[in-house]
């Protein structure tokens, strides 16, 4: 697992539910088929109302250069990120769009579990209201060992929380690899 992640921030608000992350009409694609997997990258965040896309200004497109891959690598969000349905297509969509890390105040339970079990995207937490501090497009560095987020635009630094006891599952590449490493099954 990378210990330092650098990328551009895309900022969202509170209660971004899974219907906003990947609207239901796109769930007909099967994420287990590689050619269809990339479609989730294309439609990632397609359900977020335009004024909420890329705070604080809003109306910022998530993709400009590539229709499948976003210009951004880090999502900064508020409370209860990923609430709503259990669709694993939500973390899949963000990962397919090139998002490596989410930094939110806290997550809905199933979304968090899906992020870890599939090792799609790292769900980190912050006790700060970073959506009021970070501007969409800011260049950020996340140091996972020191648990520090640096904003290169402003030189601000914040403490963030790592994955804690589930880091091992993420580092293994998901629950299956983890279970194999632990000798839980031979598959």
């Amino acid at each position: 697992m990378q210990k330092v992640i650098r990328g551009r921030a895309f900022v969202l608000g509170d209660n971004i539910d899974t219907d906003q992350i990947i609207p239901a009409q796109y769930l007909t694609y099967n994420p287990a088929i590689p050619e269809e997997y990339r479609m989730f990258g294309k439609y990632a965040l397609a359900g977020v109302p335009a004024p909420q896309m890329g705070l604080p200004k809003g109306h910022i497109p998530f993709h400009t250069r590539d229709e499948f891959v976003s210009d951004y690598q880090i999502i900064v969000a508020g409370k209860n990120f990923g609430c709503g349905s259990s669709r694993e297509h939500a973390p899949v969509a963000l990962a397919a769009a090139g998002i490596q890390v989410i930094v939110a105040e806290f997550y809905a339970r199933i979304f968090y579990r899906n992020c870890i079990n599939g090792a799609y995207v790292m769900p980190l937490e912050t006790s700060q209201r970073l959506v009021d501090e970070i501007v969409t497009g800011d260049e950020l560095t996340i140091d996972l060992e020191k648990e520090i987020l640096t904003n290169h635009k402003t030189n601000d630094q914040w403490k963030i929380s790592g994955l804690g006891e589930v880091a091992e599952i993420f580092e293994a590449g998901g629950i299956f690899n983890y279970a194999r490493q632990k000798g839980m099954f031979a598959g």
């Binding site: 209660n15 219907d19 609207p23 007909t28 099967n30 709503g84 349905s85 629950i175 279970a179 598959g187």
Partner: protein
């Protein structure tokens, strides 16, 4: 040491004498359910990890597959997904598959599961759908999981869970005729917020709960996920057992658990249901609560009665009571959750008229049993909000875009409030019509 109902169920599933909140435990799963939206992904992950086409599910009797989301659509990908399920069921020779286009077709999985005898007290039910929590109404632990978790369970019959601390909601009193379980759960979600039960169990108790029929209890448990809850649960009583015994065709034995009187709860709130008014959740969040009386008169474009939350026979009986002999003023869509509910619309009568006749005479459109427009779906989905309409609905979520269009506005309410509003074309209080 005393335990809650949820702790007791999880202790049994883990083969332990006791568990404590926040313990990480491995549990044996009694039933795994999947559907057409998450089934193909789950099957892909299962095959990838358990030997490709040679992979075998851990127990054929414990896997239930219910296509329900995108059924009556011309969308080729959606139809392909049902084919994936059909092929898998054939390969694995699975007995519990409710295929589209056959007499076995059911509709919405969360209502189909109990109807077909797949819900039993004391068991652990996992499903690839967040509203799997509905089955907590039968005194079991039921929660939604993703494809990877489901693929793992499919091969091993096991999963790891963190034991949730339990919040208890006690309802006292008999529900007045203008209120339904939907009002109660919207009141709870309004009180604790859409994240108020994150990582927690929500147990419902009190004489007000036990006065409800089984479908109304399902409505309570169904929406715990809208507060972030891991599971909702109600200890079984005779009403539960009568329903389960009638449906449990496999005669599989089950265990009835109840919380110990001195069990520890992380939160407790008591409601006097006789003092509550009809509740509504305004756009765009299930916790954006108001009393119907506060926003009465808000103009609407559409009414929708359906889904696992509000598409059961009890829901239609309530709506029909108000719609009988009257005409709706806005487009009104009626979608029975399952084919059994659809048959009920034909057989159940109010003063000599079937519920179906009442809805049709009132000018409502009736669709085929499925999830339909509750979650938008493909563009040709029955009742989908394809424009920025204002809709009042008996469904469960009203985040932006949930029922289709991103700028649509969805108000969540009880079938009584939705029916009352369909008749006037504006948000209306059922008390004004029931008077």
């Amino acid at each position: 040491m005393a335990m809650t109902l949820t702790e007791k169920i999880l202790a049994r599933a883990a083969g332990k004498d006791r568990v404590n909140p926040n313990d990480n435990i491995w549990v044996n799963v009694d039933v795994l359910m999947t559907h057409d939206v998450c089934g193909p992904g789950t099957i892909g992950i299962f095959k990838k990890n358990f030997g490709g086409d040679a992979a075998k599910v851990w127990d054929r009797e414990k896997v239930v597959i219910i296509p329900d989301h995108y059924i009556f659509t011309k969308d080729a990908m959606a139809n392909r997904n049902v084919d994936v399920l059909r092929q898998f069921v054939k390969e694995q020779n699975l007995p519990y598959y409710y295929d589209v286009g056959t007499d076995r077709y059911k509709g919405v999985c969360h209502i189909a599961l109990p109807e077909e005898g797949h819900t039993r007290p004391g068991e652990v039910l996992l499903g690839t759908d967040s509203h799997t929590c509905t089955a907590g109404a039968f005194g079991e632990f039921a929660t939604g999981i993703g494809n990877t978790d489901a693929g793992f369970v499919m091969g091993t019959g096991k999963t790891w869970l963190k034991v949730p601390p339990t919040m208890r909601f006690i309802f006292h009193g008999e529900l007045p005729p203008y209120l339904m379980a939907k009002d109660l759960i919207l009141a709870v979600i309004g009180d604790i917020g859409v994240d108020g039960a994150t990582y927690r169990a929500m147990e419902f108790d009190g004489d007000g709960v036990y006065a409800l029929n089984i479908e109304e209890r399902m409505t309570l448990c169904n929406m715990v996920i809208e507060a972030g809850g891991k599971n909702g649960v109600i200890a079984p009583d005779q009403i539960t057992l009568d329903y389960v015994n009638q449906r449990n065709k496999s005669k599989k034995p089950y265990t009835v658990f109840k919380s110990d009187p001195d069990a520890k709860y992380i939160f407790e709130k008591v409601y006097d249901v006789t003092k509550l008014e009809p509740v509504i959740a305004k756009p765009h969040s299930p916790d954006n609560r108001a009393f119907v009386s506060e926003i009465k008169g808000t103009k609407l474009d559409r009414a929708y009665i359906g889904s696992c939350t509000g598409g059961k026979l009890t829901d239609f009986r309530a709506a029909a009571k108000l719609l009988k002999g009257k005409e709706v003023r806005i487009d009104t869509f009626v979608v029975p959750a399952t084919t059994e509910v659809a048959r009920g619309l034909e057989t159940e009568q109010i003063e000599g008229q079937s519920l179906k006749e009442i809805f049709l005479a009132a000018g409502a459109k009736i669709g085929d049993a499925s999830c339909a427009a509750c979650l938008g779906g493909p563009a040709d989905t029955f009742g989908r909000l394809n424009n920025a309409l204002k809709c009042i609905s008996t469904t469960n979520r009203n985040f932006p875009g949930r029922m289709g269009h991103k700028e649509a506005q969805v108000f969540l309410a009880s079938p009584l409030t939705v029916a009352a509003s369909a008749l006037t074309g504006e948000i209306s209080d059922p008390r004004d019509l029931l008077a």
